[in-house]
Symmetry: C2
Subunit: 384 residues, 2 copies
């Protein structure tokens, strides 16, 4: 069934901010949409045609929801893949495909996938339980420092820890995990690849990420990355390879390290619109959300080029502030050139909570970088 049919329905698992931004783009194409989400207060509720309450990890909730749509996509990875598999078997188009999603959902499986496919990634060991790490250290199989990562359900700043000494292991949950070599890198890069149902593939320009040193959250996304062309080309080729090998349909955001000697190592991937692509709304010919829709509906993919340079600043809750949110100095940042705020509408702030982002576009990247700094120093996400 083509989406041009009035009976066509696109289902989205997850009703968060990414889903909301995706839903805006469905309107351009007049696509009927349906969202499954556990929370009544979900951001997506205002932007979809139909909203269904349900747990994304519950087989029945996902299966029954999936049966009522033609194409099913996600805005969050933690969903019931058994239900997705059955839906796929029964003819529902599930994008990302369940197989790709399963590889990505588990960080150990994801890392094994890279090594199996000759995709460069940092060396690692897999452990069924965190408690096994101690033995491995004792018998010389593993050395400090390393990065501990929970295999499943790890998100922004949680489920990841730098382990420098035995004591650091103490408070970690005793779950399936990996211990990854610490990479000395110049840059953290990301490339978003779009791959359509019929296999058309395009890559966005490489972006460069700057992380907040404490919160492990992206502070700036800079597009294009200020790296040499050879490195950029290599990063795009590797990202493309991951998307093709994993047979993704839709977007795949590939996060990578550029090492001191200009090697590219894949860090992790997300099979959906991604934080490292928000600047595409203002900077690109085709924004990442529209591109995802084009890909999963098997429409021709759009140009990934930049109209202008773009920088994204995350708006996170200031330290020492918990409660009803106030965006201090919003007027000041709106006076700056090429500044667009995106406030996500969360009522409560807390330290480092992601409350929105601001995009800065300019024909001159270094000018955009200056303005981005001003934005970051000016606007404050506080409580009143």
């Amino acid at each position: 069934m083509s989406y041009f049919s009035s009976d066509f329905k696109l289902g989205i698992l997850g009703g968060g901010q990414l889903g909301k931004m995706l839903l805006y783009e469905t309107r351009k194409f007049d696509i009927q949409t349906k969202v499954l989400e556990a929370s009544e207060d979900a951001p997506s509720k205002i932007a979809c045609n139909e909203f269904v309450l349900g747990n994304l990890l519950d087989f029945d909730a996902v299966y029954n929801f999936g049966k009522s749509v033609d194409v099913l996509t996600i805005e969050i990875e933690n969903v019931n893949t058994k239900a997705l598999e059955k839906l796929e078997d029964e003819g529902v188009k599930v994008y990302p495909p369940t197989k790709a999603l399963r590889i990505i959902q588990n960080k150990a499986t994801q890392k094994l996938f890279y090594t199996d496919n000759n995709i460069p990634t940092a060396a690692f060991s897999r452990f069924a339980y965190t408690s096994e790490i101690k033995d491995s250290i004792e018998n010389g199989g593993l050395r400090f420092p390393f990065v501990w990562k929970a295999a499943q359900f790890g998100y922004d700043g949680q489920g990841v820890k730098v382990v420098r000494k035995a004591e650091d292991l103490k408070d970690l949950p005793n779950v399936e995990c990996i211990a990854e070599e610490m990479v000395s890198f110049k840059n953290e890069l990301s490339v978003i690849v779009a791959r359509s149902a019929s296999g058309e593939v395009v890559t966005y320009p490489v972006v460069e990420m700057e992380f907040h040193p404490e919160a492990n959250q992206v502070e700036y996304v800079i597009c294009p990355a200020r790296i040499n062309e050879d490195v950029a080309k290599k990063a795009q080729e590797i990202a493309l390879k991951v998307s093709n090998k994993i047979k993704q349909v839709g977007l795949l955001a590939v996060e990578m390290f550029q090492t001191q000697d200009d090697q590219i190592l894949v860090n992790e991937v997300a099979p959906r619109p991604h934080n490292s692509g928000h600047q595409t709304i203002e900077a690109s010919y085709t924004n990442q959300f529209e591109q995802h829709i084009r890909a999963i509906l098997d429409l021709p993919l759009g140009s990934t080029e930049n109209k202008v340079a773009g920088i994204m600043v995350n708006l996170v809750g200031a330290e020492g502030h918990t409660g009803n949110v106030v965006y201090e100095n919003m007027e000041q940042i709106l006076k700056l050139e090429g500044v667009t705020p995106h406030i996500y509408g969360k009522k409560q702030t807390r330290p480092f909570r992601k409350m929105g982002h601001v995009t800065i576009v300019n024909k001159d990247l270094s000018k955009a970088r200056e303005i981005a700094q001003q934005v970051k120093e000016t606007i404050k996400v506080i409580s009143k």
Copy 2:
């Protein structure tokens, strides 16, 4: 009350497509919105926080709705101004101000406003009834040809007629009207001016419009207009003057003629986001909808410059087709560079009905114009 307060509510009179596009932009700022509209099927319903059913011309409906919001704006001019006036008296911020809206609502009043304020416009005569025109012709006060315009409630292609002979007057409604000199023009131009509550003013680049010869609807909007700089400057100055003199708050779209001898004559204005500004979504640093919100919330206005050249193609129903709409060759146009469709979601098409628009952006305006032509020749809005 600042919009940053969580109790703040923005009200919009009218729930059509313009309102929907305006509502998308309110999300960036996390503004709580409320829409008044007579139709349950209104496009805006999917994008607002609260939807109220009611007639925009009914005093009580508009007054009661207005009492529940802090700032009230419109997406259509035909609303009850008596209610707006009372709301203004009682402290609701009504933008456009009722006074400006009243001048604009009536084409005779609008024309008199131009002459009173030395704003160049085509010569005209006002008549209380169409039937009076005949006398004026007989006693030599008026000569054929001229343009007849109903003073009130005239929309795209309705309420306007070129009168070349006495017979052409026969089927016209006997209402308040104007008879306007036919202007021989090179170009139809438009300039969108944004004026904020505290009087900050910015103008968008001049756009050039090409109309469909039969349907009197815009076919292409070309930004920037391919005219010389002096003419562009003059058009922007005149548009600015209209916005200042009429004391508009929000957007004012000023449609103008460029005569054979490069005079600029104001044709008519709209105090809201406008068809001639749709390309700003993809082409401008600040799109017209965000700019309208900035203006009515008294936030700093954004840059009106183009990132890239932009052309808008109206999607209207093909002749000979009435019924369930199909967008033929959508895939073909999506293959072209820098093409973004905006389908409005109307289920039924009929000849010349406005069903959506397509924006074409490119760094090179002449390349954009070529692609726009291809888009127009390729996509067909038909019934199945």
